[in-house]
């Protein structure tokens, strides 16, 4: 038996600790998609809480926790106690995507005879028919889970086990006095094997937490109970993961990560809206909600643009402006005429931000240099199709996968996608379609690339490619819509950001354009589905500020 587990631990190290950034992003997107399908089918459930905790659950199950869906009772597993159990749809979706049960079962959520009860039930011999493997704790009554986690953590310490207990609590739930009883007990017993994560979405059933029962200063409260505290942006997996790694190392004290989240994050009209705490969307909206989740547009500012050097400052400004990742153009003076940063520079920049590094190697013979960029802790590493053979690319990609780095391939405007690309879709997380000839920043966007991108996108979709298309070269707030419509979900912006005197404003402008592009897409889809009026009504407050850009002022007035 032990031997089986030892092998599984190895597998887990391979799979879970090393999960790539973009792969994690996709999995978290899938959590939301699966949750919303379940809720819409059930006609009830809590989308808000499922969505605010999606990154937390995703980071835990796909990056941090030791667990094995094939052996849910593996004694060395880490425990997850979902104390805010009304996030059940998101929790079930996470377990399902992790492999604990088939995603099709999500359609039975909250129905009679389902294993997916409204609030999850501890899976055991007694309750095989009301639960799914992987659920450790029967939640539903708020305020209890942290105490249960304390009990598990004490037992693990007694047994000299090294496994960790993670417990997700809510901010509304923190009104319960028992949370604070458990907080005292955890510090009394010096439970450094427990990490609580507070989903601080600031909304509870009746309204905003600070109006119903103020919780702030919540960090000071936990510190006063002698817990180590961390505060993170709760939809930023990089920050969540960094905080979890950090708290796992601490000794003699329990830790809490206050994750500042947005209830309903992912679906714009549900975002930060108490109405969506416990309400299901109409079923007819499901295709549109899935479309929205599938078509998030990530902005990746390229820091070689604009004034030379001072990368640190540029990264900080990009982060403040809301950039999703940092694009690093690495040029060797051979493949392209210019020379930019080296791996050593990236290594130094790594401490400036937890945003993912999207490294684009415009270098000859990348296979010879790849180790240094792995070592520099890039999250995505893309090499050019023009610089490697199929065998070399596969070798690079497999190496990156082993290191938990997203592999990417880039093609120049005049390069066609090599036919062998389609044989390795499972090893590729991103395809960069260049819309300028690489080598210098500040070039003009080549519009003929759009048709190429559209064709590639169609073919990749047909082949069930799970990764992203990334558009790079001369993209600004005018061309963003075009590349987005052509299928790009990651947009590199160089001069459009750093050529501006207002970097912050420039990023916001790009994000706004990405939003408009998304709303247009959804409106078109709603027309096709014959629910346009209904959709505009449901999404009213999201659409109002964009009305003139979208040309829907009259339609909006009509739905008032």
């Amino acid at each position: 038996m032990l031997r089986v587990y030892a092998i599984t631990l190895g597998q887990y190290l391979e799979m879970s600790l090393k999960m790539r950034y973009l792969n994690l992003k996709t999995k978290i997107r899938d959590i939301r998609m699966l949750a919303i399908v379940g809720i819409a089918e059930a006609g009830s459930g809590h989308p808000g809480a499922s969505f605010s905790a999606a990154e937390i659950m995703g980071s835990l199950y796909f990056r941090i926790m030791k667990h094995d869906p094939l052996h849910p009772e593996w004694p060395e597993r880490d425990y997850f106690v979902n104390s805010k159990a009304h996030s059940a749809p998101g929790y079930y979706a996470t377990l399902s995507i992790a492999g604990y049960f088939h995603p099709d079962e999500m359609g039975s959520l909250r129905k009679l005879g389902s294993r997916l009860q409204g609030h999850p039930v501890r899976y055991s011999d007694f309750q095989k028919d009301q639960s799914v493997p992987g659920v450790e704790y029967s939640g539903g009554s708020e305020g209890i889970g942290l105490s249960v986690a304390v009990g598990i953590a004490i037992a693990n310490k007694m047994d000299g086990k090294k496994n960790h207990v993670y417990v997700l609590i809510g901010d509304g739930e923190s009104d319960e006095g028992q949370i604070w009883e458990a907080a005292m007990a955890a510090s009394k017993f010096k439970l450094d094997n427990i990490t609580a994560i507070l989903d601080r979405n600031r909304i509870q059933q009746d309204g905003f937490t600070e109006e119903i029962m103020p919780l702030d200063p919540v960090k000071d409260k936990w510190a006063a109970f002698n817990w180590h505290t961390e505060e993170v942006k709760g939809h930023n997996v990089e920050e969540i993961i960094e905080a979890l790694y950090k708290t796992n190392q601490l000794k003699d004290r329990p830790s809490i990560i206050i994750a500042n989240t947005v209830k309903g994050n992912g679906i714009k009209h549900m975002t930060n809206n108490p109405q969506w705490h416990g309400k299901a969307p109409p079923r007819k909206h499901t295709p549109l909600l899935l479309e929205e989740l599938e078509n998030e547009c990530l902005i990746a500012p390229s820091i070689i643009a604009g004034e030379p050097e001072n990368y640190e400052d540029k990264i900080r400004k990009a982060e403040r402006g809301g950039a999703d990742m940092i694009h690093l153009d690495i040029m060797d003076g051979k493949f392209v005429p210019n020379t930019t940063m080296k791996a050593e520079t990236i290594k130094k920049l790594r401490r400036v931000t937890s945003l993912p590094f999207d490294a684009h190697l415009m270098i000859e013979k990348p296979i010879r240099h790849i180790d240094r960029f792995i070592d520099a802790r890039c999250d995505i590493i893309t090499v050019h199709a023009e610089t490697c053979s199929e065998n070399e690319f596969v070798e690079i990609a497999e190496k990156l996968l082993r290191h938990g780095i997203s592999p990417g391939m880039a093609i120049n405007p005049s390069t066609d996608l090599p036919p062998w690309f389609y044989s390795h879709l499972d090893k590729i997380d991103v395809l960069i379609v260049m819309s300028v000839n690489p080598g210098f920043s500040g070039q003009q966007f080549l519009p003929e690339v759009l048709q190429k991108m559209t064709q590639i996108d169609r073919k990749l979709t047909e082949n069930r490619f799970k990764g992203y298309i990334e558009a790079d070269g001369g993209i600004d707030s005018r061309t963003l819509q075009q590349v987005y419509d052509a299928g790009a979900k990651i947009v590199v912006a160089g001069n459009a950001v750093y050529g501006s005197s207002d970097i912050h404003g420039a990023i916001i402008q790009l994000k706004l354009k990405a939003n408009i592009a998304l709303e247009k897409r959804l409106l078109n889809r709603s027309t096709n589905l014959d629910i346009r009026q209904d959709w505009i009504k449901a999404r009213r407050h999201v659409l109002i500020p964009l009305a003139s850009e979208l040309g829907i002022e009259e339609e909006l007035n009509a739905t008032r």
Partner: protein
């Protein structure tokens, strides 16, 4: 049934504490949790012997019960103990959702149940626990009648899967059972003495009073009473109730508990479904108690009708009424 020496008294809590120490040796996974009452509950004895396996969680019962659930999830056999007043009522939600719903191996053993807690008054006199605990699926409810029963049942509970609620009384009580011959099984009543004219079914401290009542009834009224210790309130011994109803015609129940929802109710439910006969319930008559010094406990019980005399009266009246 071989009866013990009724003149000898022993206290239930010490029996509980000593048994835990004994079990602790056999069962390394046995853990006790307490809420600032470990001295009083005698679980401290267990802690003296196994310091790492007694957890004092302070005056935080909701946390106590839920931490117990967590320990059980991670494979421990947990005995959670404090005063009866503070577990079933205060922690109903946690007992229901954290322990009973997932059917965890947590044993709630409480003391100071019923009126006989005495001087602390009604806030501490738990007379509703059977009723509340009995209604939760998966929960089993026990009320031992003396220290020997406590010893046997603690062992039995430790070896049985799932949640249990067992209540002890504060005062020392007369020993009913002799250690050697006592036998207990969950879901079975113990026949204390045979009789054909009526049956008295009781639990906890009222068992000893029932034995007394039976003696008076045979001596003074020529009524031969079957006396049964119904220490297992849930599951209850339906066969024993059926036979008693059929063979003796009337049943009187006696418990240190509200007449609503406890042993009397459980017996009536079973009886009315299987072999309806008259059932009279002796217990606290849906009222709160009051303070009494230790030397006034007997008087307190008289005031609330929990005496052998009341049992005698009930048997006589029930027999008359059923003719």
């Amino acid at each position: 049934m071989q009866l013990g020496n009724l003149k000898k008294t022993a206290d239930m809590r010490s029996a509980y504490g000593e048994t835990l120490v004994e079990l602790g040796k056999e069962i390394p996974d046995l853990v006790c949790v307490g809420a600032d009452t470990t001295d009083s509950l005698k679980t401290k004895k267990f802690g003296d012997k196994y310091p790492d396996r007694l957890l004092n969680l302070g005056i935080a019962e909701a946390n106590l019960v839920s931490v117990a659930a967590g320990l059980a999830i991670a494979g421990k056999l947990v005995f959670a103990s404090t005063y009866a007043a503070f577990l079933p009522g205060r922690c109903l939600d946690q007992i229901r959702n954290a322990i009973c719903y997932p059917n965890l191996n947590v044993k709630l053993v409480v003391s100071h149940a019923g009126l006989t807690v005495g001087a602390d008054g009604a806030s501490h006199q738990q007379n509703e626990d059977f009723s509340v605990m009995r209604a939760i699926p998966n929960m089993k409810v026990l009320a031992p009648g003396d220290a020997v029963a406590v010893k046997h049942l603690t062992k039995l509970v430790a070896r049985s899967q799932g949640p249990f609620y067992m209540r002890l009384a504060r005062p020392s009580s007369e020993v009913i059972y002799s250690d050697e011959n006592a036998e207990f099984a969950i879901g079975k009543g113990n026949l204390i003495s045979e009789g054909n004219d009526a049956t008295i079914m009781s639990c906890g401290l009222m068992v000893q009073r029932s034995i007394e009542a039976a003696r008076v009834l045979i001596d003074k009224e020529r009524i031969s009473c079957r006396v049964i210790d119904m220490f297992s309130i849930k599951p209850i011994d339906h066969d024993m109730i059926y036979n008693a109803a059929k063979q003796t015609g009337v049943i009187v129940t006696a418990e240190e508990h509200n007449v609503i929802g406890g042993l009397g109710s459980a017996v009536s439910e079973s009886c009315s479904e299987r072999y309806p006969v008259l059932v009279r319930r002796i217990g606290v008559k849906d009222t709160f108690g009051e303070s009494a010094r230790d030397d006034e406990i007997e008087e307190l019980l008289i005031r609330y009708g929990l005496t052998s005399g009341e049992i005698v009266k009930a048997v006589v009246e029930a027999r008359r009424a059923s003719k």
